[in-house]
């Protein structure tokens, strides 16, 4: 199999892992103002405190991996979405330090709670808009970004941004259904139902918009024979959405969370169908942007050895902190 294709899948996996894992952390941040001051917020924070750092590392793998495996794509996309990336990074700064600071300084806890919310919201919005900016196409001339300053700001990118915010809120609220019980769990259900509806509506809107966005995308989804391969994606997505809505109302454990992850998985498969084989539409394919074979092989060895270990010890860390977050917190 073509090494470049393997690398495209590895990067896609890293992005997916980041989106679902940091997605529920950021989602809890986005929902933070709706949680009750005191126990409600403390427990939600405690449910992710031991794992958020590992979750965020997938973003570094996504960025670093793109730099290593598709350096040209990295060198084009980041200048093209410059303000979004800077906003995301600064948002993540506030979000990240709030985990520690809010416990260190009870007098200013409301401020750090607000920073946790604001940082999470800005980061999620910026990530969604970056995705939108990529999908709507990036102008490239002679191996460099050639568009203008504000190409990333369009109704479409805003729609994508909102979609990701809603999606992260869904992941966060279903995580809380899993980790909390009693009244807090009930509140999480209430949140999850609304986040789920918003996510489904926005996913549908972005999908429709994609078809009108450019002729090639439309061809992908609407003509034979492609349609036979593409059609199952929205159909299965719809089935997942329905069972998720039911689970949010009744399940006491992890089912809504896993179904919301499945929703993201199929959303991402849809994006893959739309973009393939471009890494930066409309001009750069994965082969245009790929690093040479020697780089790909060297890194593949590293991935093959370390990735099973990473998944194993990450799973172990989650296992250590399994179960409902009790009154006691972690100590």
């Amino acid at each position: 199999m073509d090494l470049t294709v393997i690398w495209a899948f590895i990067i896609a996996f890293a992005v997916f892992a980041y989106v679902v894992m940091d997605g529920f952390d950021l989602g809890i941040g986005i929902l933070f103002p709706t949680l009750r001051v005191g126990q409600g917020r403390d427990r939600a924070m405690n449910s992710i405190a031991p794992v958020w750092d590992g979750n965020e590392t997938w973003l570094v793998l996504g960025g670093g991996g793109l730099f290593a495996a598709f350096p040209l794509a990295y060198a084009v996309v980041l200048p093209a979405t410059y303000p979004l990336i800077i906003a995301m990074l600064l948002g993540l700064v506030f979000r990240g330090v709030a985990f520690e600071y809010r416990w260190r300084d009870p007098a200013h806890r409301p401020f750090w709670d607000a920073a946790f919310f604001g940082g999470s919201l800005v980061a999620a919005m910026a990530q969604g808009m970056t995705l939108g900016a990529l999908l709507q196409g990036v102008e490239v001339v002679e191996r460099a970004y050639a568009g203008s300053w504000f190409d990333w700001l369009t109704p479409y990118t805003l729609l994508c941004g909102l979609g990701v915010v809603a999606g992260y809120a869904l992941l966060g609220s279903t995580w809380l259904i899993w980790k909390l019980d009693g009244g807090a769990q009930k509140h999480a259900r209430w949140l999850a139902l609304r986040a789920a509806i918003a996510t489904i509506v926005l996913m549908g809107a972005v999908s429709l918009y994609n078809i009108f966005l450019n002729a090639e995308y439309a061809e992908r989804w609407l003509t034979a024979p492609e349609i036979y391969f593409a059609a199952p994606v929205p159909i299965i997505t719809a089935i997942i959405a329905v069972s998720m809505l039911r689970a949010i109302g009744t399940d006491r454990n992890s089912k809504p969370f896993w179904l919301s992850i499945a929703l993201f998985l199929f959303g991402m498969l849809g994006l893959g169908v739309t973009m393939w084989p471009y890494v930066v539409p409309p001009g750069l394919t994965i082969w245009d942007a790929a690093a040479p074979e020697r780089s790909q092989i060297f890194m593949l060895v590293g991935v093959a050895i370390t990735m099973p270990l990473i998944i194993a010890y990450t799973a172990w860390a989650y296992w250590v902190f399994r179960g409902k977050v009790s009154d006691e917190g972690y100590h």
Binding site: T57, P71, A75, P79, Y145, F321
Partner: protein, 480 residues
């Protein structure tokens, strides 16, 4: 007046600013993670409560420093692409994989085990918890390994080929790329710098509490451990720095010329300029205080060895001399001051007044932040010294930047400056507050949650009196 602040200069300032800020945290957390590993290991081995107390005392500080390191580090991983896209495109095939290895072998390791290290003591048991601490410490070291390999390759590039489109491609051997000529020296010198930085912080905190109460056993223990590090590692570090300098002379002679302030060649023995004011326009060092022939002795081990000066280098290949000259002297000066503290502590130990010599404690307190200054000065020396190149001799900094307009870079730079000073300033304040608390028996670890109506998680002051007889407590008592 601000004409020199074009997009390129702003991008350089932005990188220098974000990387300098970032580097403070790993410089501290590399050493602190190892210190925590040693403390927990000693606790498991000896069963003495004091080690567990110190472990928990420093763990709270580590948690904050590590969080700041993580969030400022993510910025760095994207900064290459946002502001240096040409560099990313052409150098990506060679250094990208090394950075990917850093993520795979270091960042995940640190982050994956950090949660257990901070919160898991009661969930996984002592041995596994110690293993998690070791993994975090190992991760900080492995991270330094890869990122310093990348930096060293940019200073002394080897093992590459150049493609038709201008990209650097890996040659047949990755070994030649990873273990490029300056890497072993830089790695040893930087990691020891991180250990010393931490040792002087720990020593300063110990000294602060000894000044207030010289009978505090916890303060005594941390001060003693830190002073052993100062006494043993500083001489090694000075030796390693000398080796690193010789390596630089071989591979980046211009940098050494700038460090030494040698504008002119000296055919029969170059002087060591101790102080002076380099004037790049007039190509001379004003008010120079110098020792004849000593530079040749240090760098060539021969009093009369000829030394080339910057007059042999075209003007457009010269690094900025003033910055390099001064930052080098700051670093070296602090290095010898550290050596002085280390020797003083040995003398004090011999005279049995290590814990009862307020002037030693005051000196150690003053020196507490010195490691950070030295580390930063050292980095300025090496990074400014390789200018005007970003990949030494091959790619000029001016040719490596992103196609961005100055206002865009200026706006983001301003945002970074405001946010970093505010957010990390507050973080440093929280750390100083934790350091100001008296270490005591039954330290609470990183504890948070709602166990009572008015919880002030983790910062609840313990018993303020110093029992002073804690060392006889059974090991597992007070285990949180």
């Amino acid at each position: 007046m601000l004409d020199f602040l074009d997009a390129l200069m702003l991008a350089r300032i932005q990188f220098a600013f974000t990387v300098s800020f970032h580097f403070f945290f790993p410089a501290f957390s590399i050493g602190l993670a190892s210190y925590l590993m040693v403390l927990e290991g000693l606790w498991l081995k000896t069963g003495r409560q004091i080690y567990l107390d110190l472990f928990k005392y420093w763990l709270k500080i580590f948690a904050i420093a590590f969080a700041m390191g993580v969030v400022s580090g993510i910025v760095m991983s994207y900064q290459f692409g946002t502001n240096w896209s040409v560099f990313s495109d052409v150098a990506g095939p060679v250094i990208g994989p090394l950075m990917a290895y850093e993520v795979l072998t270091a960042f995940f390791l640190e982050a994956g085990f950090l949660g257990v290290m901070l919160f898991g003591m009661n969930k996984v048991g002592k041995k596994l918890h110690f293993a998690a601490t070791c993994m975090v410490a190992l991760g900080t070291f492995v991270s330094a390994f890869w990122i310093l390999s990348v930096n060293s390759w940019m200073q002394t590039p080897t093992g590459y080929e150049i493609a038709a489109n201008g990209q650097f491609l890996p040659g047949p051997s990755w070994w030649d790329i990873v273990f490029n000529p300056s890497f072993p020296y830089r790695l040893v010198h930087t990691v020891m710098a991180a250990y010393l930085t931490t040792a002087f912080v720990v020593g300063g905190v110990g000294a602060w509490h000894l000044l207030k109460d010289s009978t505090n056993l916890h303060a005594r223990k941390m001060f003693s451990m830190a002073m052993w590090m100062a006494a043993i590692v500083t001489p090694l570090q000075i030796f390693a720095g000398d080796m690193h300098g010789l390596n630089t002379l071989e591979h980046q002679p211009q940098k050494v010329m700038a460090m030494e302030g040698h504008f002119d060649s000296h055919p029969d023995g170059a002087p060591l300029i101790l102080f002076g004011i380099p004037d790049s326009e007039a190509k001379t060092v004003r008010y120079a205080i110098q020792i004849p022939k000593l530079s040749s002795l240090i760098l060539k081990h021969d009093l009369d060895a000829p030394m080339a000066g910057l007059d042999t280098i075209p003007d457009n290949e010269e690094p900025p001399v003033g910055v390099v000259f001064w930052s080098f002297r700051v670093m070296v000066g602090i290095g010898f001051a550290m050596l002085g503290i280390g020797m003083w502590s040995l003398f004090a130990r011999w005279r049995r007044k290590l814990y009862d010599w307020p002037w030693l404690h005051r000196a150690a307190l003053v020196m507490a932040p010195s490691g950070f200054v030295a580390v930063l000065a050292g980095w300025i020396t090496t990074e400014v010294g390789r200018q005007p190149y970003v990949i030494y001799g091959l790619l000029r900094t001016a040719d490596a930047a992103s196609p961005l307009d100055a206002p865009a870079v200026a706006a983001s730079l301003l945002a970074f400056i405001i946010v970093y000073f505010a957010v990390f300033g507050v973080g440093v304040w929280y750390i100083l507050r934790l350091m100001g608390k008296v270490p005591h028996v039954g330290e609470v670890g990183v504890k948070r949650g709602d166990t009572g109506p008015i919880r002030t998680a983790g910062i609840t002051p313990g018993p303020t009196q110093n029992p002073g007889h804690d060392e006889t407590l059974p090991a597992d008592k007070g285990d949180v």
